[in-house]
């Protein structure tokens, strides 16, 4: 076998799937450097001992679930804040102009106060149910190791 450069040795080993291949024996016998490269290539293919915690994937799913929950809560919260702000603004405009309809509008609003409380209560129940279901979902994910 002709004298090979380091680049050529690397290339040959790069293209080989099996360093024990008899076709490579001549290379290792004639080139001391090839033997070292073989040792190196074998070492490079060995996975380092970086360890992740056992529940790593379940923790990721838990975080994603939490983020989903918070974004949903943020949407509901924003809608609620916008509604309250709109009402507050409308009433303050009416009140500041001492509009004769102010008392009538206030009375109409107070007439629907229980409906408003009910809507707020429903939103609260949805939030709590969402939280409870997500907890259960997380537990299911943690035990489900056999997917798909």
């Amino acid at each position: 076998m002709k004298n090979l450069s380091e680049e050529e040795i690397q290339k040959i080993l790069e293209q080989s799937n099996n360093y024990s291949d008899p076709a490579l024996e001549e290379l290792f016998q004639q080139h001391e450097e090839a033997k070292i490269y073989r040792l190196l290539f074998e070492g490079l293919e060995e996975a380092p001992a970086f360890q992740l915690s056992e529940n790593f994937s379940a923790n990721i799913i838990g975080k994603i679930s939490e983020r989903r929950k918070y974004s949903l809560a943020r949407i509901w919260g924003s809608v609620l804040v916008c509604l309250i702000a709109t009402f507050a603004l409308a009433f303050s405009v009416i009140a500041s102009h001492n509009h004769p309809d102010f008392n009538r509008a206030l009375a109409a609003l107070l007439a629907f106060k229980w409906e408003a409380v009910a809507i707020l209560g429903i939103i609260l129940i949805i939030q709590m149910a969402d939280h409870f279901l997500l907890k259960n979902d997380k537990r299911t994910i943690e035990v489900d190791q056999s997917y798909p």
């Binding site: 380091e6 070292i36 490269y37 290539f41 994937s57 994603i64």
Partner: protein, 188 residues
């Protein structure tokens, strides 16, 4: 539609079990990338977590033009680089190779202890850890993850010629280090 596309499709439909499956499938790739680029071991798991949260967030924009593994490796690589920049940790460039060679000359490992432990892999891993970042990146992607040159280019943004050159130089540096130890012991 192949298996990978089906998996992504199910994740996009909100199937968290499918995403957990994806995490398990690619956690090895991500931890190798992050672990090789970041020396702060206590931060490795947190960064891996950040990578998978980012993948979940960006998955709707994944267009299947590259392999999923290449796309994931790209996110892992960028996350690691951003972390190093944020922490103002040195990102070695090939220009620092000479300094690295100087650093590499003394070794605490005696040939006897190496041979008695027969722990070449551990020795090589320690040497890889002191290589410049770009070298560690290409070695990890090529040898551990079996990426080809084009995939490494897509992941890191380094031109293919540079990838080849870095691979050659990294292996040569490691070989020289190994040779010094082996010749002392005359095991060859």
């Amino acid at each position: 539609m192949n298996e990978e596309q089906l998996l992504v499709e199910r994740i996009l439909q909100g199937d968290l079990h499918a995403y957990q499956h994806l995490v398990k499938r690619y956690e090895r790739l991500v931890v190798h990338m992050i672990g090789r680029l970041i020396h702060q071991k206590e931060d490795v798991e947190d960064l891996c977590q950040d990578v998978f949260l980012m993948i979940y967030k960006k998955l709707p924009s994944y267009n299947f033009e590259s392999k999923l593994s290449t796309w994931i490796a790209t996110i892992a690589y960028r996350t690691a680089i951003n972390y190093l920049k944020k922490k103002r940790l040195p990102i070695h460039t090939p220009a620092s190779e000479a300094a690295f060679e100087q650093e590499m000359q003394p070794t605490e490992e005696s040939p006897e202890s190496l041979l008695s432990k027969k722990d070449w892999q551990a020795f090589i891993h320690r040497q890889i850890a002191s290589l410049p970042l770009q070298y560690r990146t290409v070695l990890t992607l090529f040898h551990l993850e079996e990426f080809n040159y084009a995939e490494i280019e897509a992941t890191t943004g380094m031109p293919e010629g540079t990838v080849k050159s870095y691979l050659f130089r990294a292996r040569k540096l490691l070989k020289e280090k190994l040779m010094v130890v082996l010749q002392k012991e005359k095991v060859l």
